[in-house]
């Protein structure tokens, strides 16, 4: 009876008893969710256009953020360092397409996946040689990201909203909107989607595979930079940032590997649900740290009923 009470009654009593705290939990979950969605988007874009699961997305976040911070440390003004970092990410996209992907055209998917692991290893080694392994502070102020906080007192309680987090959420929403507009309204965006739908058909109408690959890897680089700035502002920029990419895996399982909207909805759903579960069930009943596995369990449950994920395309192969 006590168990039933602690699982089905007490958590809801706690929520009702401290609604301001619940609001804070929901806000923190939303922020985390938007950030997970941002990482997942990088994976989705590349997978959508090339059927490659980009294992290097995590290290690209680190690489982009470290490039930005290092340029600033070398005396480049922040607003110039930003486009220069984008130029570096573009150069990286071109190099990956020329050196890694082009020679592997028509190879099985697993070979391309392994190639992205190779890119990860290279970027780790190269990055550590160039940037060193030390923790660097994100140049939040130089980028004019507000650092204060807003205080609200709903239900006689307290809700704190960091301006940094608010900026991250707004920035992520703007980035996603631009991306959706680009994918649906521009010629190149339609070409990316066409490649995702049918490679051979897209090639037959003159869409250049190499141009699109460079483009999607560059967009993934832009997303990586945005992710790096936002996460780096939370706890500094170091190679530890790479592990946050793993948070995108359950998002992809939940939302589907090919769906931009799936990445967004999946990211936000996981962010909010894992936070609620950790605070109201995980910490009191299981000793905490449920965030490391909760999202995977949730995604697996969804996969039981929808193997393609919530928004993924259902693939039917007739034999």
């Amino acid at each position: 009876m006590e168990f039933v009470n602690s699982v089905f009654v007490k958590p809801f009593q706690d929520m009702a008893g401290a609604p301001d705290f619940l609001l804070q939990v929901l806000w923190e979950g939303l922020v985390a969710g938007v950030l997970y969605a941002l990482i997942a988007l990088g994976f989705v874009l590349i997978y959508k256009s090339s059927r490659i699961f980009n294992f290097a997305q995590g290290i690209m976040v680190v690489f982009a953020a470290l490039t930005l911070v290092t340029l600033y440390e070398k005396g480049v003004p922040a607003l110039l360092a930003l486009p220069l970092t984008l130029a570096v990410m573009f150069a990286l996209a071109v190099a990956i397409e020329r050196v890694v992907l082009r020679p592997l055209v028509n190879q099985p998917d697993i070979i391309l996946f392994m190639a992205t692991i190779g890119i990860t290893m290279f970027l780790i080694g190269f990055g550590e040689t160039v940037f060193g392994g030390e923790n660097k502070a994100m140049i939040t102020e130089a980028l004019h990201i507000p650092t204060g906080s807003y205080t609200f007192e709903p239900f006689g309680g307290l809700v704190l909203i960091e301006q940094k987090d608010l900026t991250a959420v707004v920035g992520a929403v703007v980035l996603v909107c631009c991306l959706l507009l680009f994918l649906h309204r521009s010629r190149l965006g339609r070409a990316i989607r066409a490649l995702g739908d049918d490679h051979q058909a897209a090639l037959s109408v003159g869409i250049s595979l190499s141009t699109i690959w460079v483009l999607v890897w560059f967009i993934a680089g832009v997303i990586a930079l945005a992710t790096g700035i936002v996460w780096g502002a939370r706890a500094g920029v170091s190679f530890a940032l790479e592990v946050i990419a793993y948070k995108a895996l359950p998002v992809l399982m939940l939302g589907g590997l090919e769906s931009v909207s799936g990445a967004i909805v999946g990211g936000i759903a996981i962010g909010v649900l894992e936070k609620l579960f950790e605070i109201y069930w995980g910490q009191p009943l299981l000793g905490g740290n449920t965030e490391t596995w909760f999202a995977f369990v949730l995604a697996l449950i969804v996969l039981l009923f929808r193997p393609q994920g919530l928004f993924g395309e259902r693939i039917i192969e007739r034999v």
Binding site: A18, F21, Q24, V25, E28, V31, A32, L35, I124, E128, G132, G133, E134, N135, K136, A137, M138, S149, L160, E162, W231, R234, A235, G236, S238, F239, A240, L241, E242, V243, I244, Y246, K247, E274, K275, E278, I279, G282, Q283, G287, G288, N289, E291, T292
Partner: protein
């Protein structure tokens, strides 16, 4: 043909020369492997520690030509703080190394039973399994100058103003990395909580959550504890401090163990982290003779390079002290066994007979950098004291007198847990030579 003959003769000469040189080299160098981590999620904290270790040994080689003429062969094997890679590194280096420095509690626990068989001393300064302090049970393991349980005891004595009964009714959160290192103080803290009537609430932080600790700090906000103690490492420290600032948790109630007091981590919070304290068994004294010699013999001639400002960091200078333990153990063993090139067994004796009193610290130019301590066959930790360092917005400064752990509370637990470990790993070879 003639050319071939000449090449052959040259090769033969070279071979003879090289082979002939082997015994001479072997006599002059001792191999001191370090299972380091300069890569991966914990690199930011690992790098200054490894740099400090490397630079002290380089300085001894450059300034003195080694220890009594024996060069220190400092070699790193990269683990990335991964236990699996750490074990691989141990296996790779055990044939030549006369010591192993596992650099993580997880790796230490893995190599602990192996070192007994391989007869290689483990040096785990200020980390590892706390009961390793019991030299009668752990013949080959050393955790000078203090164990995590010593650290936990010192922090509690400090916040209770010397009397743990003052903590009665208080709530203390232990924010810890969800790894063997982070869990290490829990048995002692739980025992002390029961005895002195305070509530202990451990809150784990997973490696993937190090940079997003909002759930942990929401719980801290809900629990409203009197103190938060942190056993954090790598990016977890910066992540926790950022969240503490964000949730407006009073910094004076937030105290970290010695691995949670890294200048590099504090960069992300800067001024806002003012008031945060970290227990430390080492204090940076940049104008000490030893540090100045490192500058003169290693850094200025660009034998090695370190980051800007790193020379004054707590972790860099702690790395220097850690290498000093090995150097002093080698020196003691050389004297005891009347030999130049000591082997692993002799070095074990050296670690067991470290005598770092004020006079010796002054002699080696390290006055004030560490509290005096000595080890013995039954005390492999030394139970040295430590100080509270406080972040002033730009650097850590010493804000307490020397703190000491309460051994009357720790010793019974050390003995019980050491026995439990030996029983669980029976037949466990005890240190029968130790009659203390």
């Amino acid at each position: 043909m003639k050319t071939n003959m000449t090449r052959l003769a040259l090769s033969a000469l070279l071979s003879v020369g090289v082979l002939g040189a082997v015994p001479a080299l072997a006599e002059d160098i001792v191999s001191l492997p370090n299972l380091s981590y300069r890569t991966g999620p914990f690199a930011a904290t690992g790098i200054p520690l490894m740099n400090g270790q490397r630079d002290y040994m380089t300085m001894i080689n450059e300034r003195d030509g080694g220890v009594n003429g024996v060069k220190l062969g400092y070699e790193e094997c990269e683990t990335g703080y991964s236990t699996e890679k750490g074990v691989e590194c141990y296996e790779k280096t055990k044939a030549t190394g006369i010591v192993t420095q596992p650099w993580s509690t997880g790796i230490t626990l893995q190599v602990l039973p192996r070192s007994n068989v391989d007869k290689i001393p483990i040096l785990a300064p200020g980390y590892g399994f706390s009961p390793m302090a019991d030299g009668k049970v752990f013949k080959w393991a050393f955790n000078p100058p203090a164990s995590y349980w010593d650290g936990a005891s010192m922090i509690l004595r400090h916040i209770s103003e010397g009397n743990l009964d003052n903590l009665k009714g208080k709530k203390i959160v232990l924010l810890h990395l969800d790894a063997p290192y982070g869990k290490e103080p829990i048995p002692l803290l739980q025992a002390l909580a029961e005895k002195h009537g305070f509530t202990l609430l451990p809150i784990p932080v997973g490696v993937k959550e190090m940079q997003n600790q909002s759930a942990q700090w929401l719980q801290i906000r809900r629990e409203n504890p009197d103190f938060v103690l942190m056993w954090g490492w790598g990016a977890m420290n910066a992540g926790a401090l950022t969240e503490a600032v964000k949730t407006r948790f009073p910094m004076e109630k937030f105290i970290g163990i010695w691995w949670s007091g890294h200048d590099g981590d504090m960069k992300s919070v800067g001024e806002e982290g003012k008031g945060y304290r970290s227990l430390s068994w080492s204090v940076p004294v940049s104008d000490s003779q030893a540090m100045q010699d490192i500058k003169k013999y290693v850094l200025d001639p660009k034998k090695t390079e370190i980051g800007e400002g790193e020379f004054d960091w707590v972790f860099y200078q702690r790395g220097v002290l850690i290498s000093m333990f090995t150097v002093e153990a080698i020196r003691a063993a050389q004297e005891q066994f009347n030999t130049k090139v000591v082997n692993a067994e002799q070095l074990r004796w050296g670690f067991e007979n470290l005598k770092l009193d004020e006079a010796r610290l002054a002699e080696i130019g390290m006055t004030g950098m560490i509290a005096p301590f000595e080890t013995s066959c039954d005390n492999h930790s030394g139970h040295a004291g430590a100080w509270m360092l406080q972040w002033d917005g730009a650097k850590f400064v010493k804000v307490s007198d020397l703190l000491q752990a309460d051994q009357t509370e720790i010793a019974p637990l050390v003995e019980a847990e050491a026995k439990k470990y030996a029983d669980a790993n029976a037949p466990w070879p005890m240190n029968d030579e130790c009659k203390m």
